[in-house]
């Protein structure tokens, strides 16, 4: 596994948060780009998912550049993603689910994750050493949140879609326990407070839409963090994503 040389100016606890965040951005982008054709209902949504995925890859790169001497090479970043094992990725359970077959499920997961990102960005915005990265990410993340919120609203307008959305959110409920956890994060990183903010923002948006069966989800989001259930398919998913790279790690790419 490639080791990243942490910049000395950054404290380890904040770097733990940044490192986990980069992993989550990479994984979310991978779903958006790799699964867009399978999950989205039409071409425009594929374009949107791919664009958001590209943004998220860019954010992962900005975050990784905080961890390694800047600028990191493309080869470093590729090795960081492709040469690690599944258990090396520090991501929440929500992002271990592939959710291939249901648009409502895909939207629900994206909505929950992007709302959590908003909370995380606001916390990081208070750290001067991260100001440039936060500024670059914030304006794009705001667009993402608006996009997924629009989709939640659209699905909630129609009875059948609303039911499916409710079922999707309920299905995700067991996997929100470790969102915004960061066990070894900075002392000022208070997961419970951040999770309560997350739950408040999600519920204030979701409840007026009368999406059914979301009470347990919202209650779980605002609780103390804890581990998510194992997702056995995640190992296979990571191996699949890394298969081509591992077949020829020295293959030449741009840069």
């Amino acid at each position: 596994m490639i080791e990243l040389t942490v910049k000395r100016a950054m404290s380890d606890p904040i770097m733990a948060i940044v490192r986990a965040w980069a992993d989550e951005e990479i994984m979310f982008a991978t779903y958006l780009l790799g699964r867009s054709c399978a999950a989205s209902p039409d071409l425009e949504k594929i374009l949107a998912m791919a664009s958001i995925g590209q943004d998220e890859f860019g954010h992962a790169e900005l975050l990784l550049n905080l961890l390694v001497p800047n600028p990191s090479s493309r080869r470093d970043r590729e090795r960081y993603f492709f040469e690690r094992g599944p258990s090396d990725f520090r991501i929440c359970g929500l992002l271990k689910l592939e959710l291939l077959d249901d648009w409502a499920m895909f939207v629900a997961r994206a909505f929950l994750y992007e709302e959590a990102e908003g909370v995380r960005l606001r916390w990081l915005a208070q750290r001067p050493q991260l100001a440039d990265v936060v500024a670059a990410m914030a304006r794009e993340e705001e667009e993402h949140r608006r996009y997924w919120r629009w989709w939640i609203s659209a699905l909630a307008k129609h009875p059948e879609a609303r039911e499916r959305l409710g079922a999707a959110l309920a299905h995700l409920s067991p996997y929100v326990g470790d969102v915004l956890w960061a066990e070894d994060g900075a002392p000022s990183w208070d997961p419970l407070t951040l999770r309560k903010q997350w739950a408040d923002e999600v519920s204030s948006f979701l409840l007026p839409l009368k999406v059914p069966d979301v009470e347990a989800l919202i209650a779980r989001m605002g609780e103390e963090p804890g581990p998510s259930p194992e997702v056995p398919s995640f190992t296979k998913f990571i191996r699949e994503q890394q298969r081509i790279y591992r077949s020829d790690p020295e293959a030449v790419t741009w840069g």
């Binding site: 425009e44 374009l47 890859f57 990265v133 670059a136 307008k157 840069g255």
Partner: protein
């Protein structure tokens, strides 16, 4: 033109970079506002700093490759250092008038401002402002898809960022609920 020795001015570097076209928009990277700074380093190397339209622009590596290739053709084997900086710096206001014209000719509108300073999108084909956003995301990460209600043409718009943030999406929401 190949100059092997002696200083190269920023104007000469910019002139050379005008030949580098953005891979995803039919316009030079200079007119698109991607070139943040350029000049000679003390060691004689040519340095170019670029700003991306979006943090995750997938063309960055290729654009850097094109920049280095063009500068080697223009200035010989002088070292070239090209890097991407400040992912939050770009907005459509960096696009030059010439760049806006070139984009218009290819069916891509750049947001303007009306007399009150509010964002305004005009159809690149007929000039009408009676247009609405069809999709927040288009064929590339920096463009959205719009529709002209006057000439009934779909067209693309360079996405708002920076000082103009959000306006098209607000319009989109007002139309689509």
């Amino acid at each position: 033109m190949v100059v092997d020795k002696g200083p190269v001015t920023s104007e000469e570097i910019l002139a050379a970079l005008r030949d580098v076209q953005d891979p995803e928009a039919p316009v030079s990277i200079v007119d698109l506002g991607l070139v943040s700074s350029c000049g000679n380093a003390p060691d004689g190397a040519i340095e170019v700093e670029l700003v991306p339209t979006r943090a995750g622009c997938p063309a960055r590596e290729f654009i850097r490759f094109l920049v280095e290739k063009r500068l080697k053709v223009a200035f010989g084997d002088r070292p070239v250092r090209c890097r991407w900086v400040d992912a939050a710096a770009w907005s459509t206001e960096r696009i030059t008038e010439e760049g806006r014209q070139q984009l218009r000719e290819h069916g891509v509108a750049v947001p303007e401002r009306d007399e009150r300073g509010s964002p305004l999108v005009r159809c690149p084909y007929c000039g009408s402002a009676r247009a609405h956003q069809e999709s927040a995301y288009g064929a590339s990460v920096c463009r959205s898809i719009w529709y002209c209600e006057s000439c009934r043409s779909p067209f693309e718009v360079m996405r708002w960022l920076g000082s103009e943030t959000n306006a098209p999406d607000q319009l989109w929401r007002s139309r689509h609920g």
